[in-house]
């Protein structure tokens, strides 16, 4: 029997040579006459250990990493294919403390299974949730999801069950499930890793959503910068159709549900749910006014569930294990787990899925081991480019929706980006405005004009021009953008700006003093 060796195919890992490592292992095994079977799994998410090669042994999967092509020869010499010791040995994968400490629900299978093997998927608990959902009434599914406390992981944190209930209750000849996979926040990558590493979970979640609300069609809107995820997902959809899961007769139930993918329009704002609908409809990705809510008047004017990848990918576990198991985790109204993504200037970046309530300190310093540069941490931006910059004094904040809000921040999509003390926070504030200026859909005035004016005004502050007046003007502008913008893009852009001005005011007065 051949030996099973896992080399991740995740795009992030491929970017640091995983494909070459896999080729080298294959070539070396052939040379040595060792029969192996390479599985291209997703990533376990410990990016600082990637490329992490795993070997299946009688004791379990044994990990080596980070592996480069030049290590392959010595790995064979060390009989790594038998689990042999090597300087890159990490021991049993599940015992790696960084991973062992986590509580993986949504990401339970990512990195573990062959992403496109339905057999592997089912061996690891796949389709249990869907099979259960098929035995339930629509109402029961929605109730299960509502009771689990699952909230939208895209950033808004709106209870998924309530949204589903609205769509379920709205009469229509056609309804849609739209998965928002336009993961555009800087420092976030969980959606992509899940779609590359465990695409069937997303399809299962969408199918359950379809059964729950009475929709027969799902659309995954996936950003154009994710060609690998797009290809993997499309392949998964094909396999699911061939398997009799997607299509006119879901697992023989007589009920219909199918999914298609739609490549994004290449604009950040297309991740805003209504702009995404416009884009799917083939129009410019421009934000719609709400009301009407998409749950009532969504894609092509039909009732539509719009959920993020992580939200939908969590649903199978809730159906499989029950609402109670899920809501036993977390704190307060933030129940269950959150898939945090550690990035920026951090020593040990990657995916940390854990129950809500972990502190930012634990994420940055324990999991992350501080900055990669080794300089002290100065600021952490949580929740993407529109999230607040938190100072070191705020690191003890509990990572849940409510606590972050109280701390002047927001959880967003769970991105955590670390900056060391070399950062210029005025420059970061300016970047927030510039990002908005580049990505604004251009519909509402505060965002369309305000972002450019904001960047110009911060530049004046940085140059020491009428600093006090311009700071006042900038704060006035932030109010107009916050209160006046049509969507969260313009409405939240002031968040990083104001937080930078509040916590790092010295960076805005530098020139004035000089």
């Amino acid at each position: 029997m051949s030996i099973r060796i896992y080399v991740p195919k995740d795009a992030a890992v491929r970017s640091i040579g995983a494909d070459y490592v896999a080729l080298a292992i294959e070539a070396e095994s052939a040379k040595r006459g060792i029969s192996i079977d390479i599985v291209r799994n997703g990533t376990r998410g410990a990016l600082w250990l990637e490329p992490m090669v795993e070997v299946e042994t009688r004791e379990g999967r044994v990990a080596y990493g980070p592996v480069t092509v030049s290590d392959v020869d010595s790995l064979f010499d060390a009989s790594f294919h038998m689990g042999g010791q090597h300087k890159l040995s990490l021991g049993l994968t599940e015992d790696i403390p960084w991973l062992a400490r986590q509580d993986r629900v949504t990401f339970a299978r990512v990195g573990v299974i062959d992403p496109l093997s339905l057999a592997d998927y089912q061996e690891h608990g796949g389709l249990v949730g869907l099979r259960r959902a098929l035995t339930l009434e629509q109402e029961e599914i929605v109730t299960e999801v509502t009771q689990s406390g699952l909230r939208g992981r895209g950033g808004a944190g709106f209870p998924a069950g309530i949204k589903w209930r609205t769509v379920m209750a709205t009469q229509s000849d056609q309804k849609f499930i739209c998965c928002n996979a336009d993961e555009g926040d800087s420092g976030t990558f969980a959606d992509r890793m899940l779609m590359e590493g465990d695409p069937f979970t997303l399809l299962e979640g969408m199918t359950i959503a379809g059964l729950a609300v009475g929709a027969s069609e799902g659309v995954v809107y996936i950003r154009s910068e994710y060609p690998a995820a797009y290809a993997t997902l499309n392949q998964a959809i094909e396999f699911a159709r061939a398997f009799g899961w997607l299509g006119d007769n879901v697992l023989g139930s007589g009920r219909a549900f199918d999914i298609r993918t739609r490549l994004g329009g290449g604009s950040y704002v297309c991740g805003e749910e209504t702009a995404m609908l416009e884009s799917i409809e083939g129009k410019r990705g421009v934000v719609r006014s709400k009301p009407p809510l998409p749950a009532i008047f969504g894609l092509f004017g039909k009732p539509t569930v719009i959920n993020n990848v992580l939200t939908l990918a969590t649903v199978p576990a809730i159906l499989a294990d029950g609402a109670d198991a899920y809501m036993a985790r977390g704190v307060g109204r933030s129940v269950g787990t959150q898939v945090f993504q550690l990035g920026g200037n951090i020593a040990r970046g990657g995916i940390v899925e854990t129950a809500f309530g972990v502190t930012l300190e634990e994420l940055v310093n324990d999991y992350g081991s501080g900055t990669l540069s080794g300089l002290p941490v100065r600021a952490v931006q949580v929740g993407g480019p529109l999230g607040a910059y938190l100072p070191v004094s705020s690191l003890n904040v509990s990572m849940d929706y409510e606590s972050l809000l109280a701390a002047g921040g927001m959880l967003g999509h769970g991105g955590v980006v670390v900056f060391d003390e070399s950062v210029d926070m005025a420059q970061q504030a300016k970047f927030a405005m510039e990002f908005c200026a580049v990505e604004s859909c251009g519909k509402c005035t505060p965002c369309r004009l305000g972002s450019t004016r904001g960047a110009e005004t911060i530049l004046k502050i940085m140059n020491g021009e009428d600093v006090q007046d311009n700071k006042k003007l900038l704060l006035d502008l932030c109010e107009v953008m916050t209160d006046g913008s049509l969507c969260a893009m313009g409405g939240l852009t002031p968040l990083p700006v104001r937080s930078a001005m509040l916590h790092f005011s010295e960076d805005f007065d530098r020139r004035a003093r000089a």
Partner: protein
Amino acid sequence: MTLLIEPDYGTPAGKSQDIVEIEIDGVSVSIPSDTSIMRASALAGISIPKLCATDSLNAFGSCRLCVVEIDGRNGTPSSCTTPVSDGMKISTKSERLDRIRQGVMELYMSDHPEKCAAGDECEMHGMAKTVGLKEVRYEGQSHLDLPKDETNPYFTFDSTECIVCNRCVRACDEVQGTFALTIENRGFESRVSSSGTSFIESECVSCGACVQACPTGALTEKTLYTIGTPTRSVITTCAYCGVGCSFKAEMRGDELVRMVPYKQGGANEGHSCVKGRFAWGYATHADRITTPMIREKVTDPWKAVSWEHAIEYSSTKLKAIQSQYGIDSIGGITSSRCTNEEVFVVQKMIRAAFGNNNVDTCARVCHSPTGYGLSQTFGTSAGTQDFESVEHSDVVLLIGANPTAAHPVFASRLKQALRKGTKLIVVDPRQIELVRTPHIEATYHLQLLPGTNVAIINAMAHVIAEEGLIDREFVNARCDLDSFARWEEFISLPENSPEALEALTRVPAEDVRKAARLYATVPNAAIYYGLGVTEHSQGSTMVMGIANLAMATGNIGRKGVGVNPLRGQNNVQGSCDMGSFPHELPGYRHISNPKTREIFEIQWKTVLNAKPGMRIPNMFDSAISNEFKGIYIQGEDIAQSDPNISHVHAALRSMELVIVQDLFLNETSKFAHVFLPGTSFLEKDGTFTNAERRINRVRPVMASKTGKSEWEVTCDLATAMGYEMGYENSSQIMDEIAATTPTFSGVSFAKLDELGSIQWPCNAEHPEGTPVMHVDHFVRGEGRFMVTPYVPTDEKATRKFPLLLTTGRILSQYNVGAQTRRTANVVWHSEDILDIHESDAELRGIEDGSWVKLSSRVGETIMKARITDQVPAGVVYTTFHFPESGANVITTDFSDWATNCPEYKVTAVDIAPSIKGPQGIREHVSLGDVELESIIRMANQIAANVPTNTAPEHAVAHHIEQFWTPYMQERLMKEVDRAALSPIVIKALELDLNHVPS
């Protein structure tokens, strides 16, 4: 009157029945639950600042000026996009809201000119003041150096003033439905764009909706700069097509600055097209003739004379002709471009002063079959619906009409309905725009061969009968059951099946079946049709076939259904209503009816001739036979617009006195001896009646350039002829119409001013008019089914003339082009073009854009070819807007069997490349006794088509008696060789024509 500023409530009216109570700034308001806070506030007299909202467009929520605070809700939602809900308490004013509004305006003004070229036309500086903005603190990049787009002849796009509110883009989408405009780029670089090219090169149809929607000076009529800001408005009615749009003529002194569509206009509700909105410059064109002119011979130069002299000259000549050639030797033609009042006095002059019934109208050549066909079946000569009705239709069956070109404002309404889910069936030889255009696709396009209309409508009816889709409940309750039984038997004959007719129509039988099922099975299906139905040898038969289909499926008498002719000219409905036909007095009452005559005889203090007069083609034939010698032509260029032009020219040359009343010298005036200058619609005081039977006021915005109203001239001529005629004003004429015509009895200028417009019938039963007709019963009592056998036209493709020519109109030009050719509209269309399919072109070695010679059995002309797939192989198409191209040199004098409406839509032609170009076009001269030939052809055609199962000779005799002059009847009986007549005609002649039971 001062400048009329129409209120703008910001968002469209709510339609919900659910009324909620809300409180805005402490004021209680009851309002439909689907109303926006903005509109509710405006209705309560509370004005909320806004820039991106206007009540002709759906709420958009982009400017963020209209933010409000709602008790119990977070944030500051935009009032335009937030609907009211019961118990809602709203504050529209607070310091916080002031700060947001000032902040937004500060941003706007940081990228806006300090001084706007368009002055107060741009709302920005005024709005800055309104929200209390004191200074603009920002400095930075701007768009103030962008170039202007002046390529459109009528308006300018100045991007420097643009605030990217999207109102223009949305108007192009939601009002016009063309999608010519978009926003390019995003963020700060978002700019309005005519889709990446200049306005003139874009898809823009120049309807003006964007200009009207623009709150700034970014999109502005050029006249606003050249003439100045308007100071007063006059509400009036467009004088182009039969849609009858209401406009505000905005004036500066006596100069017209712009025509702005009027939101309260019943037909257009604030929309317009390139013609009505912009192409009015002809009214003051240098070519206008404003002085009467006369000449002895048509080869003499014109001599300007006084009005008195011109009237004296004309009346003396007319009287001399009558004394020499008889009372019937003169006649007149009324114009569908003139007001009801002007038309009424012309027909009155002919009947009372000329003493005969030789009056006809240009409707003869367009919708006369509609009048005949709908009278026979429903009992009235008009469409059944208002335009708004189409918004309630589940299916629209569009036959032989191209609304996006010919009735653009109705087309926009139709497009919006189609986008909301109404399904469309198109019956047309051409692939008209509505077959497939952005966001619209016809469910079925039955692309039939020209001339096979009746076959198609019969096939559809056959399917409905065969497949049990007849609405028997409706038929039993509302229709004449004998006629129905006869019709059902006829229509069920196998020869009427789609399969049997497929070879003739070229439409796959299965498509006909599917289309018929779709039409018959939805709750509300409506038929709209145009001249593609009427201008055929079986035009009247087709109209009756349409009426049959509507009755059989119960699609009559409520919103969303009906039979709707799209009338070509502004007042073609009115000119017909006003008694312009030789056999009918106003209100479609036959001249032979003594009771009707008595009403007019008393009113007019004269005795009327009981016999029908001559139709236009009869007048021509008779002129060539030297019997008809003098004609008064009110505003119609028959020498360009009528078929077989050589024949028309010959007829005009034969006359001793041709009087033309028109704005410009035209093709007809080349044959005239008297030219009486007419008035443009901007000078007229009266009414037009549109295709919905809507009587709209036409108000003078400037003094008559000739010093007289047209009706005054007509009255002067009648008086000079010896019949005293005169009115103090046109209101008195309408009073006379009301006094003599039951369907108009409730109409007066005072009531029109009060109600805005009235759809006739307007009488004691319907004091405010009738939007939908035949609601409880048909006007004639029971709806009558007519048997409609398909009789192929004699105009057939042959080896010599293998192609079929069909003609039509395009968007920017109008009919003979007398007006539109004298406007900047020529930038879009400066010559008539022959559309030809690639395969036909290839066969003949014709290249795109090359000169081709087009010939039929009656004439030839030369024009440029365009290779297109809008026409199928075997069919070619052109317009007739330019005299140089002379499309009507080619068309024949074949006509509808019942009404003599010309068969413009089918002419067998051939086409060959022409190296020489537009030189040396030969004129064909008619030879022989053309009048007698016409009489024979018409009689045989009636016999072939008259819809009856029993004793067809009675029907033929009756038809001839109803519509032919005594002189024609006499020639038929006495001079025609019987061998040339069909057996039914011969049998009919054996009956006593004067005593046939009808």
